[in-house]
Homo-oligomer: 480 residues x 2
């Protein structure tokens, strides 16, 4: 059993060094590997399979809502990026530039897309002519590049995978509705598929997307009390449309500007899964996106009939639509237990000679190690029920953690006391609306404004910072 | 009906200008649009949906064969690209270079991946240690960039979408088997899903992939008598493994090099679909990858009950797993007929008041405009049968065209006579194996060696060029 121990010991405990614990899981669960390009990671089969399940669920939902996928170029000419003033100011400092093609210097540098608003706008200017052409509901799955200085797997990397929706509408109302609809899609996906509770809110002006009129986000609390912005949805008004000359003839035959949105989620969500559900034994995966939902481990597999039975019941579970793997390698059962705990497989199925004799097996749920013995005759239902138990258990645990680390505060002193007493978390406090107060809260307590939650409460009459009248409840936190 | 006419007339007839006909279809069927980045295209929803169906069929097949998807970085450091000598010589002249990140000049330029052998090898060197780690069967779906001078939609563009499989094996035999297995997968996909007959063959040395020991390809004959290389599969031996220091301990505990393959198909296949099946009315899509398989057009749709009935039967077809659209727009039926012929929808379903009264509808197959009247009670079976008729009809037509334009020749004079008499096509002729003869055939007749078909025949004893003994049957053609 020496090897089992080694495997588990290789993960730094969360309490010792949270950042190292996170990196350990990324590498030991074989989600990623480093490449020789700084800040660009290799997403390994196990990590990429999680992304494929995420894609598959979201893509289906986008299409149900009428969105169509397209593919835009990887490159943006400098002059095109420059067309919308705020946008270029936001992105130019962090883009990678192609200056040479083959053996020739380019006459105009091309940036590697950090986001594709400008490309979509150029195309929309070509194809939107009449009210009949609206709405346009486009989405793209691709990689984008942002030249970050400090990088961490999934959370911040120079290249990452994402989807970016870009839509055009006849009216501001429709566009705002789309912006909020997609925020809801992201929130529901996090809660129903990733078992991650989120707060939906609007960003303050200081934290808006470059060029947006309003940015909405979902924020999730991680194990270490920091907030992860897990998805954003932007309302652009007609700002880009004016900058790019996108006009259409409305029903009254007048030339007018359409209204625009964009929204995106990325491989960052995998970081969110790790930091919401993981523990000191490794990854814990929500069943909806787990590459393997049930790992079947034959016990005493050298005994006659064990491997055969394990393979047979795995086949039954697969036929019922579950993702199942049987590990018949010559590693010890103990090693296998540790390995698949590390990989976060939601349910472990153990079956040995005595179980077979009794027509039963043992199911162990990863998040709480609860063992239940079930009859093989009722196995499919039991396995499905156990997967639900894992999903619900993960969600409840994460919600309880968020509740335990959410502090209602009326002054900056109260913020500092709460953080000192209970650790980092979400601070809920009223705000007057002035950027100066946001800055001061951050300077004095370390937490920044994460969002103005859509579900508002009136905690007090005055701003947590300046004491002037306040109408906005803001959620504050340290952030990734 | 003026508009119908206009729509159809906008396509240049194939016989007038084949290249313009091709471009017209790409644009008018709304497959692509131009962007302001030369050689980089926008793949529009209709074109991208074809790609999604291609991906879905191939990805399933790859996974059935044990392959796993991964994601490698977009960038390759110059020093990494330089590690395998032949490889860098082949690709360096046509890559795009990132030289600036944010506001800083990079100390080492990064090329935008033209293909990812070097990245896979670097990773494999990290993770392949023991014979237990083999085989590694990885695949990646991504975009790649090659700085082409002249570009054409789908056929040759500076950025294109593809998949690249990269596998590592314990023995040369296993790797060669994989190389040929994936060539078979590509050939079967072309014939069964795209209705495109292909010739499987090995490339001559002058036409091998940079760094490969052997390159295999599938070649398809286009309408204009030129050949399209539609997919390639490479056997690398242990060349890259040696260059990248990839070694593993075999069962005898000796350090040895593994053997490697790579294989890929790209959005170029969409160009192949257009040039194999398209006609002067537009695109003709093979049913397996058609975004819309049946277009339902209500006739006299203002009459009561027509739209309702059309919508009802569309629902039935959808429930049977078909991809169906109903066009209830206020365009004329004639305009709609032309529009969906342009878009290549395999089957058109017409239903009007008289049809409804008679409990029937009309099905029209796109490729031959054959009309059949079918009872609504047997509609699902009839529609499925019509889709098979389209697939088989397309394949037979393409095969007949290839047979009519395949010429067995014994001398260069015979080649020139055949091409002059019957137009461009596949020339089958024996070859001695000398590159000088390949060059001379090309110089004197315009056709280059496309491949040495796996199915060999002995057409004559001597080389078509030099008259020396010859053992290789070669297929020659002009090529895209």
């Amino acid at each position: 059993m020496a090897e089992d121990k080694r495997l588990v010991e290789e993960i730094t405990p969360m309490s010792v060094d949270f950042a190292q614990w996170y990196t350990d899981i990324c590498l030991k669960a074989e989600l990623v590997d480093y490449s020789s390009v700084k800040g660009c990671l290799i997403i390994r089969p196990y990590g990429y399979a999680i992304w494929e399940h995420i894609q598959s669920i979201l893509d289906k939902r986008f299409k149900e809502l009428g969105h169509e996928n397209v593919y835009m170029p990887l490159f943006i000419p400098e002059s095109l990026l420059n067309k919308e003033k705020e946008h270029v100011e936001g992105f130019a400092p962090e883009v990678a530039w192609v200056t040479r093609g083959g053996s020739e210097e380019l006459t105009e540098p091309l940036c590697v897309r950090p986001t594709s608003e400008t490309l979509f706008c150029e195309h929309y200017a070509n194809i939107i002519k009449s009210w009949r052409d609206l709405p346009k509901l486009y989405n793209q799955w691709c990689s984008v590049v942002r030249w970050e200085k400090t990088t961490r797997p999934f959370l911040r990397s120079r290249e990452f995978l994402w989807q970016e929706g870009h839509t055009m509408h006849a009216t501001a109302e429709e566009a705002i509705e789309e912006t909020l609809r997609m925020l809801d899609v992201y929130a529901e996906f996090h809660e129903k598929s990733l078992a991650i509770p989120v707060i939906k809110g609007r960003k303050t002006d200081s934290d808006k997307f470059a060029g947006a009129e309003a940015t909405y986000a979902i924020e999730a609390l991680m194990h270490d009390g920091k907030s992860l912005q897990a998805g954003t949805s932007h309302y652009f008004g007609d700002g880009f449309a004016r900058a790019f000359g996108i006009q259409y003839s409305n029903k009254e035959n007048k030339l007018v500007y359409p209204y625009q949105t964009s929204w995106g989620v990325s491989t960052r969500m995998i970081g969110g899964i790790i930091m919401t559900h993981g523990d000191d034994s490794g990854l814990v995966l929500p069943p909806a996106v787990a590459p393997v939902q049930v790992i079947v481990i034959p016990v005493a597999q050298h005994k006659p009939g064990v491997i055969e039975k394990a393979t047979e019941i795995a086949g039954k579970l697969r036929d019922a639509g579950l993702r199942v793997k049987v590990d018949t390698s010559d590693n010890t059962a103990g090693w296998k237990f540790a390995e698949y705990e590390m990989k976060g497989v939601p349910v472990r199925l153990e079956i040995g000679p005595r179980d077979i004799e009794a027509n039963q097996c043992v199911l162990v749920t990863r998040h709480n190690r609860e063992k239940v013995t079930v009859s093989l005759d009722a196995l499919v239902e039991a396995a499905k029920e156990r997967l639900e138990v894992v999903h619900d258990g993960l969600y409840e645990k994460a919600l309880a953690n968020r509740k335990a680390h959410t502090y209602d505060c009326k002054t900056i002193d109260e913020i500092n006391e709460a953080l000192a007493a209970h650790g980092d978390g979400f601070v809920r406090a009223m705000w007057c609306g002035e950027e100066a107060c946001e800055d001061e809260v951050k300077a004095k307590s370390g937490v920044g404004s994460r969002c103005i939650p859509l579900e508002q409460e009136h905690l007090s009459d005055t701003c947590v910072c300046c004491g002037k009248p306040a109408n906005h409840l803001v959620v504050w936190a340290k952030a990734y």
